[in-house]
Subunit: 351 residues, 2 copies
Amino acid sequence: MLKRRKTKKIKIGNLYLGGNAPVVIQSMCNTDTRDVKATVAQIKQLQKAGCELVRLAVPDLVAAKAIAKIKKRVSIPLVADIHFSAELAMEAMRSGIDKLRINPGNIGDEEKIKMVVLEAKKRKIPIRIGVNGGSLEKDILKKYKGKVTAKAMVESAMRHIKILEKYNFRNIVISMKASDVERTVEAYRLLSAKVDYPLHIGVTEAGTIFRGTVLSSIGLGILLHGGIGDTLRVSLTADPVEEIRVAWEICKALGLRKRGITITSCPTCGRTEIDLIALAKKVESELAFIDKDMHVAVMGCVVNGPGEAREADLAIVGGKGVGLIMKKGEILRKVNEKDLLKEFVKEVKKF
Amino acid sequence: MLKRRKTKKIKIGNLYLGGNAPVVIQSMCNTDTRDVKATVAQIKQLQKAGCELVRLAVPDLVAAKAIAKIKKRVSIPLVADIHFSAELAMEAMRSGIDKLRINPGNIGDEEKIKMVVLEAKKRKIPIRIGVNGGSLEKDILKKYKGKVTAKAMVESAMRHIKILEKYNFRNIVISMKASDVERTVEAYRLLSAKVDYPLHIGVTEAGTIFRGTVLSSIGLGILLHGGIGDTLRVSLTADPVEEIRVAWEICKALGLRKRGITITSCPTCGRTEIDLIALAKKVESELAFIDKDMHVAVMGCVVNGPGEAREADLAIVGGKGVGLIMKKGEILRKVNEKDLLKEFVKEVKKF
């Protein structure tokens, strides 16, 4: 098991974040928050895919008020994404939001900051400070000669943290996202050496499904493997359900979360004598909705097949027109290629 | 720039690996090597996709002899993947193979080992020792109580290395693949502290395109970000061309290689007022074949848009039914949503 950095534990609705809580998987709706029906439908889709916390854009008062209606119809905690406005933050809290994503340094004068922070404190609503490489404060940007460096991002985060701490507010989560791996990783490493607040990790503007999956897997993978990260959001220019799928796969790959069946399969080569690519795809889709904590392997040949099969609960090892079904490394039986999928799925269900 | 571990530089055909050479991107044909036509076609496809080194399965003498015919028709170096057979290694070398992937400890007695190693030395053919979690030596497996640990894999690698070093053979590349991230990373970290031979990195049996992309991005990402890895193979149960696509994306994400246009795009949210998912996809496919070293951003709104645009050569920042085209952070012009793609691609070509 990976050793995770020890962070402060906070509570968002009925969900724990940080401390010894599992890494929380979250996403953000891309619906218009004022459209309650569409937003509720997307939250439910996300929840079904495994999302545990959902953020909503709150660009105006209508959206802030809509939160109350949305809250009544969903069961997972919600985060209001607010920029520059103390009034919207107040309204979101009155509407029952579970967490705010707001940068206290840019919502107005001391009076306004105090109003928001004390209200959040009273209601036990955590605040996420979200530093983004694309929107650093002008004076910090100037100090770093116009370069959005990891240090500049950490300086921005620390400034917002100090504002909250001045009011003894410590119910804090922090994110610092850049659009590339290198700066994102460096910024989180620097900050995690300074504070013990839980960290929301992500690579921002990561791109389309393909590029975004690779970028997020690398960036979040490096951080999580190094013990950093209490909640994650994969950012894709795609249906947010895809973000959840990738987020789970990252957590599963690092042994941080468990969900469904893990499938190992080989890349096929000149030694493969069955149609393994098609078979692995079919096994993946047949097993997608079986909720068992087990490990199966789909292997093309006898060179690495038996070894992998030994480490799997159930495995297929392909031969010429046939396949062996193996259980914990022992041969169960030999099956013709055409019956292999059906028979294997049967064994998985029986397991 | 990432700091890479200093390794010995070796030569494979006309390609350098290790030392200060760029990270080499490789894959493996899944054609029958005896089928010269199909294999040559796949090598050419792989090369077009950006593959720099291709491995072929050599399960028998016919395949070993076919290498000579294949070599005549392709221009990138080839690696013969051989298991347990000194004879096949000898025949592959006579056929002009550029590199062997063979584990000297399992090709027979001292006589046979000597024959293969001296022949490779004479011909200046490098040998990759390929330790695989699925096929560890029985005595090592026994020593580690049947557990394929990272230490067990390193012990296996060191055993093969010592066999080659006994003959003063140092033209070596090493890989140690497990089917999970944790062991793979640990094994490479342990070995790279012991030897300075270039390392071939990969997560083996990573699975279907989706799972394999995530697993390889995390595993190879962690290693490369830590300076480890001189060549990489992404292992997917899919067309090997997909492996090359993922491998390039990993290297680009870490700034290790450059190829084509980098596209940053935001995840869309309730603030987005244009159809950004569709637009980003179209921009990605329109720019896929433009070979320019530039960075473009496709952003949905004015919160993070202008900041990202400042870091991009060219950017789209979406508004309501319109988009701004920006160059190095300065507004070039405002364009209606329906003309945005066409006008943007025009600007990219002009850049």
